[in-house]
């Protein structure tokens, strides 16, 4: 199997795009998974700006497929590391930091005053009291909905879970899926679980659960699943057969009303023909009014591999990506939120809504299930969520299995 993975890597490497190098320049290699059109253009612009400021550096950007990147990163970090690459902070970076594959960039933080400018995300890029990554973007999760579908059944935009479920009844009568998702890649439904758990039990409990401090068989976890069970009859039936992109047309065509997603999906909705008038965004409805509202906003970051050849220029690149004006420009193009406190948020209504929602969050901001929980737990957990969505009657067996995994993973 190792040979198979290597073969796949070699194939991907052969397909990589790279810019032309000239002999006098120092080369900085940058491997990234931003292969969707909008992020790719945004990063190409950022690289061009960096090269304009540093004419003696030639950045060679290698773009890989997003899903393939997640497994390829282990191969290229150990065999042929680039000078800069991107990855996810928190638990997703931890195994690599433990293995000594990331370069300590605490000096970049100290020299550029990043400890204050990037203060909001400092905890998730810090391990062993050192900084390992520079976050450049984050984005809110929430519920995206089709306003036309809401008008069609005469439903009001819900603020509470009861109102939401009442709307679902109306949608069902009209033959519209109240909630849609595509779970074949598993991660989209982790967003649903995160929000249900954050709304039912609050941020502190969610954090404890993903840290393995609470058993999965706990009654509070069951309460979360009980809320989930209420919406299952109104969820797209064949979600397990489709990807998140396959569920987008259901929203666009008005066959489904609501979609729990990250803000990156807005580009896909608009590509399908939706506009600021027909696409709506609402924070996930309140379930338990006693828990402070908490939100989900994953952060993406860049880092320097420990085996980087051109460390000096890579650190320059880190400082560049962290800068307020650079983050403003990059995130306007990405349609996401900048991390640097001095940067400004683009005037897109969904970005503004997300920024407003996140900056007023009293409870806390979760990263995402597969970043808050360790990789193995995330995999077992998300599979359990999918099984629950298809066979809710198996809940006891699922929770027992997750609990068994917890006992093994968090030793």
């Amino acid at each position: 199997m190792v040979h198979l993975a290597r073969g796949a890597l070699a194939l991907t490497a052969a397909l990589l795009l790279s810019t032309a190098a000239s002999a006098q320049q120092r080369v900085l290699t940058f491997t990234t998974d931003n292969n969707d059109p909008a992020p790719k253009a945004a990063w190409e612009q950022l690289v061009a700006d960096f090269e304009a400021e540093n004419p003696d550096v030639d950045v060679q950007m290698n773009i890989m497929d997003r899903e393939a990147y997640k497994t390829a990163i282990r191969n290229f970090l150990t065999s042929d590391p680039p000078d800069v690459a991107n990855w996810y902070p928190a638990n997703r970076m931890q195994p690599f930091v433990d293995a000594g594959l990331f370069l300590d960039i605490s000096d970049v933080y100290a020299d550029n005053d990043l400890n204050t400018q990037l203060a909001s995300t400092l905890p998730i890029v810090t391990q062993d009291d050192k900084q390992w990554m520079v976050p450049y973007t984050y984005y809110q999760w929430g519920m995206y909905f089709n306003r036309t579908a809401y008008e069609q059944v005469d439903a009001a935009v819900p603020a509470t879970w009861e109102e939401f479920l009442a709307n679902c009844e109306k949608f069902k009568a009209a033959g519209i899926d109240c909630l849609t998702t595509g779970s074949s890649q598993l991660w989209p439904i982790a967003g649903i679980f995160d929000y249900l758990n954050l709304r039912t039990n609050g941020y502190e409990f969610h954090k404890a659960l993903t840290n393995g401090e609470v058993p999965w068989t706990d009654d509070r976890v069951r309460a979360t699943f009980a809320e989930w069970a209420k919406v299952l009859p109104y969820t797209t039936a064949n979600h397990a057969a489709i990807d998140w992109q396959d569920a987008v047309p259901l929203i666009v065509q008005g066959k489904a009303a609501n979609y729990v997603m990250g803000n990156f999906a807005v580009a896909a909705f608009k590509e399908g023909g939706m506009t600021d008038e027909t696409l709506g965004f609402l924070p996930f409805p309140t379930i338990n009014p006693d828990v402070p509202r908490a939100e989900e906003a994953p952060t993406d970051a860049v880092f320097i591999p420990a085996g980087a050849k051109n460390v000096d220029d890579a650190k320059k690149f880190m400082a560049f990506v962290a800068r307020a004006d650079v983050q403003t420009k990059l995130n306007t193009a990405l349609g996401q939120l900048p991390v640097n406190a001095g940067a400004t948020v683009g005037d897109d209504p969904f970005l503004q809504a997300g920024f407003e929602m996140l900056s007023t969050t009293p409870g806390g901001i979760a990263q995402f299930f597969d970043r808050d929980a360790p990789a193995e737990m995330a995999k077992v957990g998300m599979e359990g969520f999918q099984e629950f969505m298809v066979r809710p009657e198996n809940l006891d067996a699922i929770l027992d299995r997750l609990e068994k995994a917890r006992a093994r993973i968090y030793k």
């Binding site: 199997m1 190792v2 993975a5 899903e67 997640k70 497994t71 282990r74 150990t78 195994p95 690599f96 433990d98 293995a99 000594g100 594959l101 779970s183 074949s184 890649q185 598993l186 039936a237 064949n238 979600h239 397990a240 057969a241 489709i242 597969d370 990789a375 193995e376 995330a378 995999k379 599979e383 359990g384 999918q386 099984e387 298809v390 066979r391 299995r401 093994r408």
Partner: protein, 295 residues
């Protein structure tokens, strides 16, 4: 030196010719087998330090539902994949006629084996896809409700096996077609004179002569069933919730996939799969050895 070479030339020459092949075989097959066994006794994330944990991986495997699901699916694969042998024989006999354009029909039947397994997997996933898939729409038209085969834990493994059978039948068919070319016409003639036809002719005259072809067909089908990784990976990624996993895919998932950081556990699964394959492989080798020494 040269005197030694002169006297032992005949004894040494075969080994010298074998040396490059043996070296590669050691490096890429034999040594990795022992490495896998070694890794399976460790707790290793593939990046950091490995820790010796003895048989703990195997103990955990014995209590792992996902392992039993994969094992069960492997058995289903093995059993249903065997259908390729009679089906291939049937098509081969059907195509073993002399009609104008027969070569074209033969190549059309052989076509699925030529296209890549990945393409086969993609075609069948569209075939089964909810809302626009041919099969889905057919079911909807027949029964009123469509079933997304690849999202239903009851049917998913069978759905993938059907996709795998398509090229496998073509492969077996070509093996039998070449076998049928070598059936002795005088024996068929003699059987005819004795009044044999139909099933009796097939069973007592044709099939015994096809034994070498049958043997190869069974071997490639067993191996094909046990290494069924590509279709599972392309069509379902092991889902929904891991119900279509087979051992080879589970091993990949544990050791090398996005969330897989358990080289030791993956290696333990690989060792079990190797043991299962060894049962069949040693059976085949024993049979070949027996056939050769009988002559």
């Amino acid at each position: 030196m040269s005197a030694y070479w002169k006297t032992n030339q005949r004894r040494l020459a075969p080994w010298l010719f074998l040396a490059p092949g043996l070296f590669m075989f050691m490096l890429y097959v034999i040594i990795p087998i022992f490495q896998s066994v070694f890794v399976s006794f460790q707790d290793w994330d593939g990046l950091g330090e490995a820790r010796w944990i003895g048989v703990d991986n195997y103990v955990e495997l014995m209590d792992d539902d996902a392992f039993y699901t994969s094992l069960k699916n492997n058995v289903i694969w093995l059993a249903l994949y065997m259908l390729a042998v009679p089906a291939g024989l049937l098509i081969a006999i059907f195509l073993n006629q002399t009609i104008a354009g027969m070569r074209l029909y033969k190549s059309l039947f052989f076509f699925p084996f030529v296209i890549s397994q990945v393409v086969v997997g993609l075609m069948f996933s569209w075939f089964y896809a909810p809302n626009f898939g041919l099969f889905y729409n057919l079911l909807e038209w027949l029964t009123g409700t469509g079933t997304a085969v690849l999202a239903d834990d009851r049917f998913v493994t069978y759905g993938i096996i059907v996709a795998g059978l398509w090229p496998q039948i073509a492969y077996v068919m070509i093996l039998y077609l070449t076998g049928l070319n070598n059936v002795a016409p005088d024996q068929v003639e003699a059987a005819r004179l004795d009044g044999a036809k139909g099933w009796r002719m097939l069973w007592y005259v044709i099939l015994p002569q096809l034994r070498p072809a049958t043997f190869i067909a069974v071997v490639v089908t067993v191996i094909g069933a046990l290494r069924s990784f590509d279709l599972v990976s392309i069509m379902t990624n092991g889902g929904p919730y891991g119900t279509s996993r087979v051992l080879s895919f589970y091993m990949y998932e544990q050791a090398l996939s996005e969330y897989g950081y358990r080289m030791g556990y993956g290696a333990a699964i690989a060792v079990v799969l190797f043991a299962i394959m060894m049962i069949f492989i040693s059976g085949f080798i024993w049979k070949m050895w027996r056939d050769e020494t009988e002559r």
